[in-house]
């Protein structure tokens, strides 16, 4: 209770400062502090952590998760979850490889087509949830299963490798020492942050998440907003799929679904509430970076990957449990 009051006071005080990026950082101070703290600890624990090369490595590894987590944030802000984001990204990567390699489509056309495929999957999710009124959990879980199966069917179980050289740009390109996925991530987050805090659509997504009935009675077409949020989430999954396939230089049906936990954990760590109506892109970015740094550090310490899974699960619980306590009081 007291903590809640404190948080309230903090957030209202922060609100007084006006809506800008610095403010979001302040509101997400816990995540930001965690990020800095972890970074400092690992700088001392491992000799390779605080090097430009490794930091860029972290940023690049984070970028794929971050792109998908950004889409997830939009859906979480509605108070819903898209369980199919990871599978959608994996599917889009496979579709990209298939189009490039088996159909022989040009790189730019393939790029756009894959974004459309991802968006279409999101649109379908949104339609199921908003119009047919399938509970989001069931709808997106079903989509996830369909996409995962379809990915294996398209590739007959094996990765489609050796994609055209130009395709490598999205995942392996480097500009002034900064990897292309990082540049993509930064651009996407800037665009989405503006969308969230400055546009009517962003505001309406918040409103639907905070109180869908009130939003509807204030003239907002809540079905349309939900469908749009899912569709945008799908487009971002498509973009994620492009980066993944480019990075791996193949369309691998086995990547994707395993991302799910990280995709939910990053936004929550960044201040997005599972109950909807709250959350920011900057927060999600910080959350993704925290998880990225932890992953990187665990690798640098040669921690066995299975232990890494265990650790990730525990970390997510450690983040979510205090939130639940707060909601109850």
């Amino acid at each position: 209770m007291q903590q809640d009051e404190h948080a309230n006071k903090l957030s209202s005080r922060a609100m007084l400062l006006g809506r800008n990026t610095a403010l979001y950082m302040w509101r997400n101070q816990k995540a930001l502090l965690a990020l800095l703290l972890i970074a400092v600890v690992f700088t001392f624990l491992t000799e390779h952590f605080f090097t430009f090369h490794n930091l860029m490595n972290v940023a690049r590894q984070t970028s794929i998760y971050a792109l998908l987590a950004a889409g997830m944030t939009l859906v979480l802000t509605l108070g819903e979850i898209d369980l199919s984001v990871g599978a959608n990204a994996g599917f889009c990567g496979v579709v990209a490889a298939f189009l490039l390699k088996k159909v022989g489509i040009d790189v730019p056309v393939a790029f756009l087509l894959v974004l459309c495929v991802g968006g279409f999957v999101g649109l379908l999710n949104g339609f199921l949830v908003a119009k047919i009124r399938v509970p989001f959990f069931v709808a997106t879980l079903a989509t996830m299963s369909v996409l995962t199966g379809a990915s294996f069917l398209i590739t007959r179980g094996y990765p489609i490798s050796l994609l055209p050289k130009a395709w490598r740009l999205f995942g392996r390109g480097v500009l002034w020492g900064v990897p292309a996925p990082v540049i993509i991530m930064v651009i996407v987050f800037i665009v989405l942050q503006v969308l969230q805090s400055r546009t009517v659509l962003g505001r309406e997504i918040y409103a639907v998440g905070a109180n869908a009935r009130a939003a509807r009675l204030s003239g907002i077409n809540t079905d349309r907003i939900r469908i749009l949020a899912y569709a945008l989430c799908g487009v971002l999954a498509g973009l994620g799929g492009i980066v993944i396939s480019s990075r791996l230089d193949s369309g691998d049906p086995s990547v994707g679904p395993a991302f799910l936990l990280t995709l939910i954990a990053a936004p929550i760590l960044g201040g997005t509430k599972l109950s909807g109506g709250e959350g920011t892109m900057v927060g999600t970015l910080i959350g993704a970076l925290v998880l990225g740094v932890i992953n990187n550090a665990m690798s640098l310490m040669n921690l066995n990957t299975y232990w890494q899974d265990v650790a990730r699960g525990l970390i997510v619980l450690a983040i979510v449990v205090p939130q639940i306590g707060r909601r109850r009081s």
């Binding site: 309230n8 006071k9 400055r198 009517v200 918040y206 907002i220 709250e278």
Partner: protein, 512 residues
């Protein structure tokens, strides 16, 4: 069990103090409840009533002070322990499991057993029936709670309290959603409880209720105990003065201008089984009241006009032109605003700022190329915050932190900002304390004087009589009577809402 005197004191509260961060919610409060009395607890919102009953019910722990119940000192109570002792709270917000049946709710956690592990369903329903009969509830024990009307749920909660052999029943605003008839029924039950020696602590914003039911009254103000006295030693004015600490002017301010030309009309509104052939019109600057019992179809008329529910038949005209409304967005585009009865459920974005709540229905007008003009948004929100005197340090404050009256003003501001020509108000003063109510009344009058049409639904008859130019009475989905300001009396409205005089209506409701 207890050896205490049957007419003596049941509950003694001494020196209760409770601090919340930054607020002294209760400051050395004393309270004595006698066996078998009906004790009213009154005070404005934020006076500490809710905190006090939460402490008595074991929901919240006090910082200082002692409680003695039934001759024994009790400390560190939890809600379950309080129930065991015989303290039952009927909360403002119903605390029932909506997906379980009436009988299951009645015996939640203490169902009659068969072979220890199984519920004895036959006995469950038999016992449930007998308790429900005691409170005069006629609904089946097998229906789901989600299918009950809110007033029926209250009866169920009361039955539960009685079935637990409560010695003290605490009712927190039990009548906010009740029609007058239902209030009378509740009062009969409370009197029966009193006859059986059960004590009732009754909290209500409606002072006239306090006078008709209570034996004694305790007034709290700003967390302090102001006075306790027998009800017949206090007048309504006196009570209000104690509550607000200042005398109030006339409760219902008068308007200076008369209604002008007809601007909004509906005819033949029908939604099968809910509303039937509802026809009326409202003039510019007029306040039209909709009276009736809960479930008479008043809210449903509002929902239908606003496009929140579908109509089977009916026409809506604005300024002489028929308009088509399929969704709330259509209604808003035509300049119709709707303030719903439950502002927390379907009015406000509680976790969002005042600014975001005020601008919610006007985002299109406040944006360019779908980018929100945030300076304009801020300026407009601030303007309405000042205009309606919403008490807050900043428009960035979250609405959840505001009092009921200020929250309601935020909703009003939203519809003023869209320049609504027709404003539908459903129970606009529910859960708002006396001082703030006045401000809301003045606001409604200002809106009418401004030449807008106001349709006001209310279950508080004095409010309707004081505010409205005309009152339509509804019964079972139909308009049964139209009363002008001069002919309207409480009795008249009650007769028609109860359906006791229906035949006379058919000729009078249809205007030519």
């Amino acid at each position: 069990m207890s050896v205490a005197d049957p007419h003596g004191v049941l509950l003694t509260v001494r020196g209760i103090t409770k601090r919340f961060p930054g607020v002294l919610a209760l400051d050395q409060v004393d309270l004595d409840l006698e066996r078998g009395e009906v004790h009213a607890l009154v005070g404005e919102n934020g006076a500490g009533k809710s905190t006090l009953i939460k402490i008595i019910g074991g929901v919240v722990r006090s910082d200082e002070g002692t409680i003695e119940f039934d001759g024994k000192a009790v400390s560190h109570l939890d809600p379950h322990g309080a129930q065991k002792l015989g303290i039952s709270i009927i909360h403002q917000e119903c605390e029932l499991a909506p997906t379980l049946s009436v009988a299951e709710n009645l015996f939640l956690g203490r169902q009659p057993r068969w072979l220890k592990w199984f519920v004895d369903r036959r006995q469950l329903h038999r016992e449930a029936r007998s308790w429900l009969d005691q409170v005069g509830a006629r609904f089946s024990t097998k229906v789901l709670v989600s299918d009950l009307a809110i007033s029926e749920r209250r009866l169920l909660e009361l039955a539960r309290a009685i079935s637990m052999h409560a010695k003290l029943v605490i009712m927190d605003e039990p009548t906010t959603v009740f029609s007058d008839e239902e209030v009378q029924h509740l009062f009969r039950l409370v009197r029966e409880l009193r006859a059986r020696g059960v004590t009732t602590l009754y909290i209500s914003h409606r002072l006239e209720e306090t006078f008709s039911i209570a034996d004694r009254v305790t007034v709290l103000r700003d967390g302090q105990h102001i006075t306790t006295c027998p009800i017949d030693q206090a007048s309504e004015d006196q009570l209000v003065r104690w509550m607000v600490g200042r005398p109030l002017e006339r409760i219902f301010p008068r308007r200076s201008t008369a209604p002008r030309e007809e601007a909004f009309s509906v005819s033949g509104l029908t939604r099968r089984g809910v509303i039937e052939d509802v026809t009326f019109s409202v003039k510019k600057g007029e306040i039209l009241g909709l009276a009736g019992l809960v479930g008479a179809g008043r809210t449903e008329v509002a929902d239908a006009i606003f496009g929140a529910s579908k109509l089977d038949r009916g026409e809506i005209c604005l300024e002489g032109k028929p308009i088509r409304i399929d969704a709330p967005s259509d209604a808003i585009r035509h300049g119709i605003g709707y303030i719903t009865a439950d502002r927390k459920l379907d009015g406000l974005l509680l976790i969002k700022s005042i600014k975001e709540n005020i601008s919610l229905a006007s985002l299109r007008n406040l944006s360019r190329f779908s980018f929100i003009k945030w300076r304009t948004e801020k300026a407009e929100s601030r303007r309405y915050k000042d205009l309606l005197q919403i008490k807050t340090p900043s428009i960035q404050q979250l609405t959840v932190n505001l009092s009921g009256g200020n929250q309601q003003k935020v909703v009003f501001a939203r519809w003023l900002l869209v320049h609504a020509k027709v404003l539908i108000l459903d129970e606009p003063t529910v859960g708002i304390d006396v001082g703030a109510k006045q401000e809301i009344y003045r606001l409604i009058n200002d809106i009418a004087e401004d030449g807008r049409c106001v349709i006001m639904i209310s279950s508080e008859l004095p409010e309707l009589l004081g505010m409205c130019d005309r009152i339509l009475v509804m019964h079972r989905g139909r308009v049964t009577r139209e009363l002008s300001r001069d002919e309207a009396t409480q009795e008249e409205i009650l007769y028609y809402s109860a359906g006791l005089r229906e035949t006379a209506s058919k000729t009078t409701t249809r205007e030519t």
